[in-house]
Symmetry: C2
Subunit: 205 residues, 2 copies
């Protein structure tokens, strides 16, 4: 949203094509990384032409930013409905288990769609970096809401800061994914998620 390229007048047909391009680009980038993915590959995968890419996107960076938004939506959707109700310890653990499941079914490759993108542009493209931050914000929001709700119900000791726990949780997750990705072994991610849940539970009254 608000991804700069919203001003173009698009017909419904154009919208479909645009979406097709984003989806294919997302897949390629997810597999190969940003710089390794060429516009010609995107063109071929979508059976479009160069002019179409530049009709719908200002340049490659603009396309990448659309991909970031797309991947964020998809990622959050894949975690629903669990994500919407992280307001009990049981649900939190269920969600963590689901995350591990999701990671495993990709054979530990790629890592986190967002975290993976983050590394590639964060020090290079300031606009895209802010998009990444927004993506993390959107994600963390759900955790934050959950922990806040828990505290409101007295299931967190008063000194515990929901925001801090959220950050620690996300860190464990991202790091676990990286290690699993590097080692091609689901264990680090599993352990990291488990540790994160235990850490959060240590703030139970």
């Amino acid at each position: 949203m608000s991804s700069s390229t919203a001003v173009k007048p698009l017909t419904s047909r154009g919208e479909v094509t645009r979406q097709r391009i984003i989806e294919a680009a997302a897949g390629l980038i997810f597999d190969q990384g940003i710089t390794t993915t060429t516009l010609d590959q995107v063109r071929e995968a979508t059976r479009t032409s160069k002019s179409q890419l530049y009709h719908y996107f200002a340049d490659k960076s603009d396309l990448v930013r659309a991909v970031i938004a797309f991947q964020t939506d998809r990622l959050l959707d894949s975690q629903r409905p669990l994500l919407d109700n992280l307001d009990s310890w049981e649900n939190l653990r269920d969600w963590a288990d689901r995350m591990v499941q999701l990671g495993q079914q990709r054979n530990c490759r790629h890592g986190c769609p967002i975290g993976s993108l983050a590394r590639q542009i964060v020090d290079h493209d300031e606009t895209a970096r802010l998009d990444i931050v927004r993506a993390f914000d959107r994600w963390e929001r759900y955790l934050l809401d959950g922990f806040t709700e828990l505290r409101a119900r007295g299931e967190l000791i008063p000194g515990a800061d929901p925001a801090d726990i959220t950050t620690a949780f996300m860190s464990a997750m991202q790091g676990g994914l990286l290690l699993s990705q590097a080692r091609r072994d689901p264990k680090p991610f599993t352990l990291a998620m488990d540790a994160a849940v235990h850490y959060a539970e240590s703030f139970r009254p």
Copy 2:
């Protein structure tokens, strides 16, 4: 070590040049990433010629792998002597604090030298991936030794697995660095390290 390019007969003069190339490449890659760093940049930064690069390294990937080894050495050295004695809770915390310090003095940029490299090649260059795994292994070894020593002295409950705690610790660290890097804010890393220490301490008898 065993980095494939050990067979070349090198004079002391050649060794110096080779080292100069690696060091400059490491800096450039650390700042800009692998694909963004060009061999021409390396050449210019070291005031060498193209033929020298290919005299000392088989290709770019070979140079990158030398950089991995170099960065690992440098990273571990920067953590000494604390790293060698992670065998008490106090030392563990001191080391964690030192890590946070190191991260901050880079203004949260770049993230972890190894983790950063990991994300960029792990799904792309199998040989380099194994080098990354070796690098993580070397690093985790120190943590593992520390926790093992702690358990031997009865400062860990019998059920606690030093290897698992080590993995959880590394995950928190890597994830925290990524978040700090993306947000340009030292806080996530600080919180992640703190959470990791607390998690480890939860296994104290």
